[in-house]
């Protein structure tokens, strides 16, 4: 939690785009913070692992050492998961805010995340969600459907978009809860997942969702340049030679894949996609590729920090990480509304 704001504060608050040196410094600072978050995520938990044991566990693995087993089988996969989910949600948020030119847009608030969650719950109850590929497919399909519906209802106004998202989220959550209550197996399997958590997911095979997220992140970097032009407005984009319709479609596909895959892995986690782009807005004035790059670093930092907090905040056990992100994200949303005022809504 503390890493991200200090980082934003350390950069000179210039109105112009930062120079190359400034950018490298920010990038380096971000990577150092990410490294610190990774180390914390590996070291902290119910079973505290001494810092000195982490490196040997990775390079010189001893199957008889409890610390080594914890690091290799639980902490490292979970950290990887946190990095992937954080990056996916943050980049999805950055893309959707740029595309809709809407400071409140976020896959979680707009119902995309809950669309994916609903499809997964339904699939699980019907017995379709056994495989990693099946879960990914369900997650993305749900995300697409929710996006289309919310966008169709709310495309003319920022506020209506938000309300449609909130309403759809509520409906889908309600129906998902109904489904889970009627099939106890699903309830048990997805108890933590349904609130949004990384816990217990590290044991499953995560290759497919991680690869999908990685590919979509690369795609986001590639499309960011054209998105820069589209963000300036349709006319300008045409003049600059960007194919507006194609860039929009590709970006929407990327958003749904990122949000859908992240939800398939970690359940509905809100607000990460809202917080990160806002933290970075000052640093990345008007440069979408830069925003996407930094989101890929700060998103994981936030996610890992929240996940680490979620492990230690209760002495009785873990808290689903989505609860922590809601506590971080709620004030953020209030701040955004107060800062951008009711006039922009």
């Amino acid at each position: 939690m503390s890493t991200a704001p200090t980082q934003a504060g350390s950069a000179p608050p210039t109105r112009n785009a930062p120079s190359r040196i400034g950018r490298s410094a920010v990038l380096a600072g971000g990577l150092v913070a990410l490294l610190a978050a990774i180390v914390a995520s590996i070291a902290v938990g119910a079973e505290s692992v001494p810092l000195g044991q982490i490196w040997p566990a990775l390079t010189d693995f001893d199957p008889l050492s409890g610390d080594h087993l914890v690091v290799r089988d639980i902490r490292v996969p979970r950290t990887l998961l946190g990095i992937a989910v954080g990056a996916a949600l943050a980049v999805a948020g950055a893309l959707i805010q740029t595309l809709s030119r809407n400071p409140l847009a976020e896959p979680g608030i707009l119902g995309v995340t809950h669309g994916a969650g609903f499809a997964l719950t339904l699939g699980a109850a019907l017995g379709l969600a056994g495989t990693a590929l099946g879960e990914l497919g369900l997650g993305v399909a749900g995300a697409v459907l929710a996006t289309v519906l919310v966008y169709a209802v709310g495309r003319h106004s920022t506020l209506r978009l938000l309300l449609a998202g909130v309403a759809l989220s509520a409906v889908l959550q309600g129906v998902s809860l109904g489904v889970r209550l009627t099939s106890p197996d699903t309830l048990d399997k997805y108890r933590f997942w349904s609130v949004g958590s990384l816990a217990g997911r590290e044991q499953t095979d995560l290759t497919i969702p991680l690869v999908a997220i990685a590919l979509a992140l690369v795609g986001a970097l590639l499309v960011a340049r054209s998105l820069n032009a589209v963000a300036l407005g349709e006319t300008v984009a045409h003049t600059l030679g960007a194919n507006v319709a194609r860039v929009r479609t590709v970006t929407l596909v990327l958003i749904t894949v990122l949000a859908g895959a992240a939800t398939a892995v970690a359940g509905p986690i809100l607000f990460v996609g809202l917080i990160v782009p806002h933290l970075l807005r000052r640093l990345t004035v008007g440069s979408v590729p830069w925003l996407v790059t930094l989101s890929m670093i700060v998103g994981p930092i936030l996610m890992l920090a929240a996940d680490t907090i979620s492990r230690v905040v209760l002495h009785t056990g873990e808290v689903p990480v989505a609860i922590v992100t809601a506590f971080l994200g709620g004030p953020m949303l209030i701040w955004v509304v107060r800062r951008y005022g009711a006039g922009s809504l």
Partner: protein, 347 residues
């Protein structure tokens, strides 16, 4: 709402009350009577429905006492009455807040008052292990504190600003997270009981649970009906309200108190039942084609909606009885989306 401007006098009915003549819109009267009939019919269905249906004769016999039935009077009775009264209370609370904020989205379930009241109840249950009275008290305090927080944060934007709604949504998200945390933190038995009404449920309510909430809600509803005229005047705008002799600040405080009181009392017994407060006043207003958000149709629509939702919750997956909040959320959310889509079409 563009209503056809009908000639005033022919569209109204004269109702003599204690020597004074009250003019009521014919349509409003129709809606009120229609809703009351629907309420009675649904109540009758609710009394007959169960794992085995009772015949109308059995229900009538149980009600008049000629043919005593524990199932109908002690099990189904409280549930039906609770649905009617809680639905009415939620409908009135929603109408009050929608009038105050002049915004259909300003209703207590959207801006987090339900969740806040639930937090208060949870805190009392888990930390102080309180009795029913204390839980209800904690619930009211939680709701009032949440209301104060939302209004304080959105003050500069004005009560009617859209800012209030968005800030309410944010507060709602945080408070809901807090509730989840409290449940996880609690001892297992308390947590099980709390999760039971996490999404609002009328399961297992009996007469003893209802005495306190009924008396509180009855007092609050009576207060609301006394102040309804002033409420509608203040909805016309601050200047008009002051000019027509409404003490604005006191009026607002009282109304917020009534609204939060209704919401919190329902929440302390049944948990956060979402979307009735949002949908009922809007449906009532559209049925009555009223210019503002009238209280009486809102109350009746709320009662009918909650009864209907509770019946669906019991029937949908019988013998398993869903939390009624799940059904109200699904219905209310769909209604809200439809409302937004309608607005799009009208442009």
């Amino acid at each position: 709402m563009t209503t056809t401007e009908s000639p005033k006098r022919t569209a109204q009915v004269r109702v003599p009350v204690r020597g004074r003549a009250w003019w009521i819109e014919r349509r409003t009267l129709g809606v009120v009577v229609g809703c009351a009939v629907a309420m009675l019919v649904l109540g009758f269905v609710g009394l007959s429905f169960g794992s085995s249906w009772s015949t109308p004769g059995e229900v009538l016999g149980a009600l008049t006492g000629t043919q005593p039935s524990v199932v109908i009077v002690e099990w189904r009775g409280p549930r039906v009455v609770a649905a009617i009264l809680f639905g009415a209370a939620l409908g009135v609370a929603g109408a009050i807040f929608q009038n105050l904020t002049r915004n259909p989205m300003g209703s207590p379930d959207i801006i987090g008052l339900d969740a806040g009241a639930y937090t208060g109840a949870l805190l009392v249950m888990t930390v102080f292990t309180g009795a029913t009275t204390t839980v209800a008290f904690g619930s009211v305090v939680g709701g009032l504190l949440t209301a104060a927080l939302v209004y304080a944060l959105s003050r500069s934007g004005g009560l009617s600003g859209m800012r209030l709604v968005v800030i309410g949504i944010a507060v709602n998200a945080m408070v809901t997270a807090l509730n989840n945390w409290l449940v996880l933190r609690a001892e297992l038995e308390v947590a099980m009981a709390a999760v039971g009404w996490n999404s609002g449920s009328l399961n297992g309510i009996d007469w003893d649970d209802l005495i306190l909430p009924f008396s509180v809600i009855a007092v609050l509803l009576a207060l609301a009906s006394l102040r309804a005229q002033a409420l509608h005047q203040s909805a016309l705008g601050d200047a008009v309200a002051v000019a027509t002799g409404v003490g604005l600040e006191r009026q607002r405080l009282l109304m917020v108190f009534i609204g939060v009181g209704c919401t919190a009392t329902v929440t302390s017994v049944a948990g956060p039942v979402a979307f009735i407060a949002l949908a009922a006043p809007q449906i009532g207003r559209r049925l009555a084609r009223a210019p503002g958000v009238p209280l009486l149709p809102a109350a009746l629509c709320g009662a009918v909606l909650l009864q209907l939702a509770d019946l669906i919750a019991q029937m949908l997956l019988a013998p398993v009885s869903l939390p009624v909040g799940v059904v109200t959320t699904a219905i209310g959310g769909c209604y809200l989306i439809w409302l937004l889509a309608q607005e799009v079409r009208r442009r």
